[in-house]
Symmetry: C2
Subunit: 339 residues, 2 copies
DNA sequence: TCTTGGCACTCGACTGTAGCGAGTGCCAGT
DNA sequence: ACTGGCACTCGCTACAGTCGAGTGCCAAGA
């Protein structure tokens, strides 16, 4: 059955009221607060249809209606327009992000900003190594048989590993190795490095081959195979707003899920610049059944190097949240472009 | 008034029972579960005294007794013996920490381990820069007027900053600058670097002086003045155990406090190898009135490079927690000593 | 002087009942 | 197709009553 315009208006009104008040909304208060131009009885009929179609439900007989996940989905897809940010919010974003001294700083400031503006839990992925290129590789001897390798990526990320060498090498050999690796790998995307690393081993001077193999093993293993993705988190205290009414009383499963980086990455590690909204079950994480996630990709210019987003109750102000997430992502992109 | 031995026994029994059951403990169940050798009535008299002295209190008339902060304090100081770790726990610690690939990895594994073993919130401070020495400084040109400086510390920490140069410099000048800074600063403690950095500027070749000044400004500002301390956090989900009975119902203030790195550092940033226990108000943080913190320093050998600890309800198993925190700190120290 | 059993008392937790009111579904009328 | 009216549902709150764990006090005994 097709929903006519008025039924959609009713659904929109229900979502807006419920988000604002956090209480099931009844037919009478609905017509009072919105200019629907019809009587409560008519609204009730519409509600009955909406309920039959699964867009709203009653917590119990004789209570008002509450949107279902499906109702929110329809609202987000067809009934809402993105709220423009207030000037105050724009100013807050700018003020917050200027003066960041390094990548860590940018990420931390961003995640705090996002948490503060949306009053929800914010997650920011560090620029993905897989989508970074190598800017410089530095080898620092720790002892004659141990080497620290530091990789600096164009996104500002810096990763280090310790390499155990099969045989001692001296200072000049380290210099040779350093030059060689930099020549081979600088400028290439991390995802493209495996053949280059192989070439590195093939071309190394015989006496350096064992060391080169050890080095390349570490490089491949840590930087390419297990993607070293990282995330920053802030605003968990915001989960307690709405005093346990959201999240059916227990924060536990949500806090547990938030501690799993793998889960967070799956949810906000976007590849596309598109803003995604996952509502309830759409998160596909059991522990997050009662939450929604708004996420988007960010990066300098048009390329995407990482994702960011917020997590909150399914009952959230989607238009405002979407606007804020997008705006913050855009600013962070500009920030990164400057480096 | 001096408390005789039996009154102390009663207090100990109350603390132990309350920690175990989370329910106010009455005189009758006390004598049932502990071999006190006296009747409930006697225990009641002792309880009255303990209450008068402020070691225990009644949530309401006709309820059992609950230890006060002062009671826990006395318990920790004089009535408890550190529980030895179970073999299973020892094994868990070893298994968890072997195979750590870099400092980030060590810290993350440690904080998770600690959270898991104590079933509380764990906090681990990264090795403090102030107590590290410079192992290597790397300068990587980003453009002709921008330089990324990467500092590698002996503790494994790697910090990077971008330096804006007043005038362009070429590759060979970077090499010169790199050699000079490393000669001057390698091996010295960060806290001792200011005069060395100054000497660096004085001795630099005239054409490099402006660049050197820019570089040294960044070095001093970021690495010495504002101590770049970092912490890792895990186990916030454990706050929800005991279903809101601890923390008088609201996790909010606690989650808020946990987001402030400054607060965490104040609480677990130990300088001494001593294990500290802060109970309730002793945390000196309003938001953490209902929590206790057990913290200790760690480091390779005898020197302390950072702190770690756990935060939980004042009603926590102090002997077990103290033992675990100490054991983990010791293992982390050994871990670091290997590098 | 310390310990003990007895006893009256307190007060939170739980249960059952009743009234209220927001909200609904249905139906007949326009 | 919309509307007003009406009976009904059911969660919420208040209130009264009961139960029981736990206490404080006291007088008697070791």
């Amino acid at each position: 059955m097709a929903l006519d315009d008025r039924k959609l208006d009713v659904l929109r009104a229900i979502v807006e009221d419920y988000v604002a008040t956090q209480e099931p909304v009844g037919s009478k208060s609905l017509v009072e607060r919105h200019q629907l131009g019809v009587s409560p009885a008519t609204v009730r009929n519409d509600m009955a249809v909406l309920e039959e179609e699964g867009y709203i439900r009653q917590p119990h007989t004789s209570a008002g209606r509450v949107p279902t996940d499906r109702g929110y989905r329809l609202f987000v897809d067809r009934l809402s327009t993105v709220k423009p940010l207030s000037p105050a919010e724009r100013r807050a974003i700018e003020r917050f992000l200027v003066g960041a001294v390094d990548l860590d700083d940018v990420v931390h400031r961003t995640v705090r900003l996002l948490a503060q503006l949306t009053r929800q839990v914010a997650v920011v992925q560090y620029p993905s190594l897989a989508r970074s290129t190598v800017r410089h590789l530095e080898l620092v001897p720790i002892s004659t048989t141990r080497l620290m390798v530091v990789m600096i990526a164009n996104t500002g990320r810096v990763e280090q590993r310790v390499v155990d060498l099969p045989a001692p090498i001296d200072e000049s050999q380290v210099t040779t190795l350093r030059r060689l690796t930099n020549e081979k790998l600088c400028g290439s995307k991390l995802a493209d490095t495996p053949p280059l690393v192989q070439a590195l081993v093939d071309e190394s001077a015989p006496e350096l081959t064992p060391a080169t193999i050890a080095l390349s093993t570490v490089l491949l293993e840590t930087l390419v195979e297990r993607h070293e993705e990282r995330v920053a988190l802030a605003g968990t205290a915001n989960l307690t707003r709405g005093g346990l009414l959201d999240f059916q009383g227990s924060l536990r499963p949500i806090l547990e899920a938030l501690e799993e980086e793998v889960i967070l990455l799956k949810l906000i590690g976007e590849v596309e610049p598109i803003t995604r909204v996952r509502i309830g079950d759409e998160t596909e994480i059991d522990n997050l059944r009662s939450t929604s996630i708004v996420s988007t990709g960010y990066g300098p210019g048009v390329t995407i190097v990482g994702g960011l987003g917020v997590l909150g109750p399914t009952r959230m102000d989607y238009p405002a949240t979407i606007a804020t997430v997008r705006a913050v992502a855009r600013y962070v992109g500009e920030m990164l472009a400057q480096n």
